[in-house]
Symmetry: C2
Subunit: 158 residues, 2 copies
């Protein structure tokens, strides 16, 4: 529980810091999201290296995605992804019904506009992890009712 | 192990980010240290609230310091402080012989100058925790041989 809190508090501080140090309008918001995403990317790269140190080689893309949904998610967010769907053509949708980094926000609709900044780091985290496993992707997130959210992973075929 | 890594990687990213976004000389370095320290302060405030939720009331200052050295340090850094000394007049020296946030740096002397930025967040963490327990303090850190380091806590009498 303490570990979780440490990560959560630091994550919040990072968001606050980035948003405070760059005051501005809509363009700035996009830039901040990118910064958070990039941070997540590098953390994901580092993490996946540790996590997969002793695991068997992955069979295929789906096998990798399952690892992200189960082992990786459990390590980082203390729960598994609730639902994984795919169109078998390179698009995966990971649904988390109680996403940890949103669960401390009030579920009211008025905070929905703030959700993207709490998801950017995690999008990067997934993209960085996949990248170090040799899978190039684009990861986006979407919230309709907090604290549930969906991460969409689009695999970029080489 | 995974949790540790998550915190460590994010902590490193924060340092990199702050140092990259503010390029400059010596004054800037001081300002960056302050930023890291302030982040640590707020994280410490949040953490100590969680950690002490179910603990008994502290007897005195020394009792608080022991809690920081044992429970708090174990939660955050996965080990206890190795040595706690005090002059019984408000100065405490906490020695960690293998400080986790330094242990991934090479122990060579040439990296010693980079040590302060890896300690600033933790100084703030301790100051923030003590602050929320009603103890105002100044916390500084000192490294002679990595990865060992000493945190000096000077209690500010009200």
């Amino acid at each position: 529980m303490a570990d979780e809190a440490l990560f959560q508090f630091l994550h919040n501080e990072v968001i606050q810091y980035i948003y405070k140090s760059a005051e501005g309008g809509e363009t700035e918001n996009g830039r901040n999201i990118t910064k958070l995403e990039n941070m997540g990317f590098r953390v994901g790269q580092g993490l996946i290296e540790r996590f997969t140190k002793d695991t068997a080689r992955f069979k295929d893309e789906l096998d990798i995605m399952k690892f992200i949904c189960k082992d990786f998610w459990t390590c980082v967010f203390k729960k598994q992804i609730d639902n994984l769907r795919t169109n078998h053509q390179g698009i995966y949708v990971l649904q988390d019904n109680k996403f940890r980094l949103l669960s401390q926000l009030s579920a009211g609709k008025q905070y929905l506009e703030h959700a993207p900044k709490y998801l950017a780091f995690t999008c990067g985290l997934v993209r960085g992890s996949l990248s170090n496993l040799g899978v190039k992707s684009i990861v986006t997130a979407e919230v309709s009712v907090m604290p549930a959210c969906k991460f969409q992973v689009m695999i970029q075929k080489l």
